[in-house]
């Protein structure tokens, strides 16, 4: 499968447990070559969706395919998809090497791959220790090693940042970035935005099992706002909303952002500055404000955002 670019396609996916609908009519596509963040509050259905992608949980209705095939029909699943769900999925009496050797045999991967992954993930020294004594970081790395045994083109990680120290998170970032740059499909779920903010290119946001937003972060965040500090804020606001210079047709949106401060959307910083000068209004500070993933997430997933 080396070199394949495989998209994950989720289509009208629904999962009900009795009266509880965990996932409702969910559709989105995860593209290869980028890192996609799968975001949502705890209990929003992220894990259930990822388990349905890999056939561990059967959907009530709808489909999830990887490279066009449902997981169960992949010819060599562990060469196509690597997935990590539980932070702690080892027999406590097995050593790291023994654990990997079981799954190397199962997937038909050579034992040399076990040694290579132990080295790659910095577990060589712990290879002969039983996993019951492993730290959280070591467990995460052993999970990742297991998922990577088949050198898969698609990587699914459920809450990979849980319990990692800042150094570990930074390492994970670099590692996943490299995998995406190799054309692989990387999907990581998270409820903690800070840890994946700089990592993801695309996001899929769900809430209560339903899709809220999907697409590149930059597009979802919308154009940046301009924050203007001016003692003449009221006059400036009037000028900005009234001025015909804005040829786009839609009037810029201006709101108060504190005393003597305005948040302007729909105009870029140079335009705001030029207009202020043209009307002899003072500008003390001009800041371009990009929406952080966290704000976007809160905006998309809090109750008032859903109308």
């Amino acid at each position: 499968m080396t070199g394949d670019h495989l998209a994950i396609e989720v289509s009208c996916l629904t999962k009900r447990y009795g009266d509880v609908t965990a996932v409702h009519d969910l559709s989105f596509v995860v593209q290869p070559g980028v890192v996609t963040g799968f975001l949502g509050p705890n209990g929003s259905g992220k894990t259930t969706t990822m388990r349905m992608m890999t056939g561990l949980v059967s959907p009530t209705s709808g489909t999830a395919t990887i490279g066009g095939l449902p997981y169960g029909r992949l010819a060599r699943p562990s060469r196509t998809v690597g997935a990590v769900f539980d932070a702690n999925a080892f027999h406590p009496g097995h050593t790291a090497r023994e654990h990997l050797r079981v799954y190397a045999a199962m997937g038909g991967h050579p034992d040399s791959r076990v040694t290579a992954l132990l080295d790659l993930l910095g577990l060589a020294e712990a290879a002969h220790r039983r996993t019951r004594g492993f730290s959280t970081g070591m467990r995460q790395r052993l999970n990742l090693a297991t998922a990577l045994l088949g050198d898969p083109r698609v990587l699914l990680l459920d809450e990979p940042g849980n319990g990692l120290d800042p150094e570990g998170v930074s390492w994970l970032r670099g590692f996943l970035r490299q995998l995406a740059d190799e054309g692989r499909t990387v999907l990581i779920s998270s409820h903690a935005l800070g840890e994946i903010q700089q990592l993801v290119d695309d996001v899929v946001v769900i809430r209560r099992g339903e899709l809220v937003a999907a697409g590149p972060c930059s597009r979802l965040a919308g154009p940046p706002a301009v924050l203007v500090t001016s003692p003449d804020a009221d006059a400036l606001a009037a000028v900005l909303t009234a001025d015909p210079v804005n040829g786009g047709g839609t009037a810029p949106h201006v709101e108060a952002a504190g005393p003597d401060r305005l948040r302007v959307r729909g105009l870029d910083a140079p335009s705001v500055a030029d207009l202020a000068v043209a009307h002899h209004l003072r500008v003390h500070e001009l800041v371009v404000e990009t929406t952080s993933l966290e704000e976007l997430f809160l905006h998309l997933t809090t109750d008032k955002a859903v109308t």
Binding site: G55, V57, G93, E98, V102, T146
Partner: protein
Amino acid sequence: MNHLIRAEFRRLLATRMWGGLLIAAAVLGGGMFGAMALAGPENFDPPMPGLDTEAGLRAILGILGYTAFVPAAAGALAVTSEYRHHTAAVTFLFAPRRGRVLTAKLATYAVVGLAYGLVLAGTAAVALFAVAAARDVSLGLPATTVLALLGRIAVAMVVYLLLGAGMGALIHHQIAALCVVIGYLYVGEPVLMMIPGVNTLYPILPGGATAALTDFTYVADAISAELGSGAVHLLPPVAGALLLTAYAVAASVIAVLLPLRRDVT
């Protein structure tokens, strides 16, 4: 399939259970059984016929058959440990055809059960003949018959290990599976035997089938005496063996079929 069986052997051989199981076989066969033979069934409380009688020899071999809970528990433990340690999800990611995973497990455990049974029967044979020679007792059955009975016990161990594995795959929860397997064999079935009407089913229950395998009529006779009703007759040994195998096959088939659609969370 070969990949899956190799993986299951690796999984099993990497734990300490494997060695422990063979030690248990030697302790039960050579140790416990040897000690019973050495003491002599005639000195049991209540006394049983001696080793020089056919009934005595069959009885003591029947008691050895009762240690089948050890491989049954091992089978249940081995299968449920995948759920307990959350490796089932990883396993089904590597091998989404779950029926094949369980089939590979059962094939692997059949080999393990056979190793267990051979160690148990082998050490028991050595102990029995050594005791007979030391105590200068001439056994109540020809040596070939004794060896054949021990062979049947070894087969019973394979079947019980598979029964345990099947129950483990059905129940998933480790402690619950152990309670069901051991509880049924040692509490459930004896309690059933107290219920008039139900106890006539003894010959076709797993315990009765195991007893039939070695012509161990001690429990059946006890039930008959207790009830004062007509004697409960065991199945012929071959029928007992077949019935026991049918139980194991049924447990395995259910175990193979049932997890196919069950969600792994």
